[in-house]
């Protein structure tokens, strides 16, 4: 980088870029955005095509080749509504457990002083590095065989019930609340449950949204575990029934790609919409603190 003296003096005010550098940066960012978004655009286009068109022209909407038939086709093979309902119950159960029990644990870890607090927090960090593949077989044996929870919502929910990352995020937020607030309320005679409900919960509402977003994608998108516990089609979350369609039934359908992509749109849409609407709660610092602990 050879630079002239006056340029150097100007760049001491940091962020100034040369024109070429700005163009390079802009194109890198734009290229990235296209690479990330194009498959989603293509998913939507493909799901609306009556005849699958894989040529380059097929990447643009063609009014003569548009149909909603693929959505009807996939719905006749896998029941989209029952899939969505199952996904919803599975996700809702996990969210409820994580929010209620995770918040209680986060509060106890941040605000209350009790023996074993340090050890519990160390455990919380530790279980994040236990890989799921190690627990896969024993959990399958325990939940479907020993407890007989195969094909039940409880069986799907249990391994995801309390998200350790959520506990850490809640703890982080509770720690930021000034301790005097609690001292003052205790002097006024508030009990611990009153403190949690009246003071702590209202103050960590942003954390609540972050936790819900972060927890939502786990069960909604997960495939391997619900696939193992549900054998009955009527109990399967949408991700599982769509995957079964892709791996088994697709070959016997007239427009397998169209139907697959229609199912994919239905599966992806709720999450994408949720993350666009609440994007300001899904920012780097929260995620960073959650992962780093």
């Amino acid at each position: 980088m050879s630079r002239t003296v006056p340029r150097r003096r100007r760049s001491t005010t940091a962020v100034s870029l040369t024109r070429t550098q700005a163009v390079v940066r802009g194109s890198v960012l734009a290229l990235g955005a296209i690479a990330f978004l194009f498959p989603f655009y293509y998913m939507l286009i493909g799901s609306l095509q009556a005849e699958p068109d894989t040529s380059i022209a097929g990447a643009f909407p063609d009014p003569t080749n548009l149909t909603l038939g693929n959505y009807a086709a996939i719905d006749s093979r896998i029941d989209l509504w029952s899939g969505l309902v199952n996904s919803g119950i599975f996700t809702g159960g996990v969210l409820l457990c994580t929010v209620v029990f995770g918040m209680l644990a986060g509060y106890a870890l941040a605000i209350m002083r009790w023996t074993g607090r340090g050890a519990t927090f160390a455990l919380t960090l530790l279980i994040q590095i236990v890989p799921f593949q190690l627990l896969l077989i024993p959990l399958y044996v325990l939940i479907t065989r020993s407890y007989g929870l195969g094909d039940t919502y409880l069986g799907m929910i249990l391994p995801f019930a309390i998200n350790a990352t959520a506990v850490i995020i809640f703890r982080q937020y509770f720690l930021q609340i000034p301790g005097e607030l609690f001292d003052a309320a205790r002097i006024d005679g508030a009990g611990e449950i009153g403190l949690l409900w009246r003071i702590a919960v209202p103050l960590v509402r942003p954390a609540l949204v972050t936790v819900v977003l972060l927890t939502f994608i786990g069960p909604w998108n997960s495939y391997l575990w619900p696939f193992l516990v549900t054998k009955e089609a009527g109990m399967q979350p949408l991700a599982v029934s769509l995957a079964n369609y892709i791996s088994n039934v697709a070959a016997s359908t007239a427009n397998p790609f169209g139907a697959t992509l229609a199912g994919a749109v239905v599966l992806a849409a709720p999450v994408v919409v949720l993350f666009i609407v609440f994007q300001r709660y899904f920012i780097s610092t929260d995620i960073g603190s959650g992962v780093k602990g």
């Binding site: 962020v15 690479a35 009790w114 023996t115 627990l135 998108n221 995957a243 999450v271």
Partner: protein, 323 residues
């Protein structure tokens, strides 16, 4: 937080403490001595602790137990002889060509996915960190693949990378034969590329957080010394986000070792001829489809030990020293 309010609180705490011990007397005090000043903390954490015990601790021990036995699936309550077999399952892991192939596959995966993830996510995060316009739009569009179900995006990739899919149409005569996912030497790289694309948004967020902690005056000092943007990226940004880089290395390696959905769906069960089978896929086939959970658990334990070893090496060589 003003200092006067801290003093006030401290004073309140000081006056409160001697006022407490009284009525119920020693029993309560002894309870507090064992459980701490807020014994309710135990109660609040109890569901989480039970969860850790039931979903992590017990299954972990159980995994080790069944890996040393010839374990059978039985109906609840039925007692079957499940003999202790010592290290037999482990010996099988290291002699089974299927397992060895899957370990080799995952090595290819990690060699492509991890460096690509680190470089692309750092470059994109650094570029994103310095723009003002379209910032939100770009950030959201980068993490959309991360938040979407694998199953959903796998559908599009199958469409894009099929024999006469869009990618091959664009490549024209350059298209590989046989096509990407049915080509033994390209199937695993294509999966690695898919996973990089899908998970990148998460790592961009991690790097964005790390970039906020790089002191601004370091950039000013670098500029003062005549370093251009590119130079200061390498001398200030890259070392400044080193802890995040270690984290990205670890997490992307762990994700790689957990690979299942992508080979199961993209290459219909690790094809062609097991060229894209992952260890977790083999665990599923052996443990659940074939009914050898003992063997599958042994594969899982070997895999986890391997991952921990790699993670330790990454931590040592990618810069544990600074912290």
């Amino acid at each position: 937080m003003s200092s006067s309010s801290i003093h006030a609180a401290a004073a309140a705490g000081a006056t409160r403490r001697p006022a407490q011990p009284d009525a119920h007397g020693t029993r309560r005090r002894r309870l507090r001595k064992v459980l701490g000043p807020h014994p309710l903390g135990w109660l609040f954490s109890a569901p989480f602790l039970v969860f850790i015990a039931a979903i992590f601790a017990y299954p972990l021990g159980f995994a080790i137990y069944i890996s040393f036995h010839d374990y059978f699936f039985t109906a609840p309550g039925v007692v079957v002889d499940q003999p202790f077999v010592g290290f037999d399952n482990y010996v099988r892991v290291f002699t089974d060509p299927k397992v060895l192939q899957s370990l080799g596959n995952i090595a290819i995966f990690v060699l492509i996915n991890v460096p690509l993830t680190v470089v692309l996510s750092l470059v994109l995060a650094a570029a994103l960190n310095s723009v003002v316009r379209f910032r939100t739009f770009l950030r959201v569009s980068y993490y959309v693949p991360y938040v979407t179900a694998s199953v959903a995006v796998v559908g599009v990739w199958l469409f894009l990378f099929s024999g006469n899919g869009l990618v091959n149409q664009i490549l024209g005569p350059l298209a590989p034969e046989p096509s990407w996912l049915s080509n033994a030497s390209l199937a695993m790289p294509t999966i690695a590329f898919f996973v990089t694309w899908k998970e990148l948004g998460f790592y961009i967020l991690l790097y964005l957080a790390a970039l906020q902690n790089v002191p601004k005056d370091l950039y000013e000092a670098a500029a003062m010394d005549g370093a251009g943007k590119v130079r200061s990226f390498f001398t200030v940004t890259v070392p400044g986000v080193r802890p995040a880089t270690v984290l990205v290395l670890l997490l992307s390696t762990i994700t790689g070792a957990n690979l299942f959905t992508e080979p199961y769906l993209l290459t219909s069960g690790g094809g062609p001829n097991g060229a894209s089978a992952s260890p977790v896929l083999v665990m599923y086939q052996e443990g659940i489809e074939q009914g050898h959970p003992g063997y599958a658990s042994a594969i899982g334990i070997v895999l986890v030990i391997a991952v921990l070893l790699i993670a330790f090496l990454q931590y040592r060589f990618a810069g544990g020293k600074e912290r």
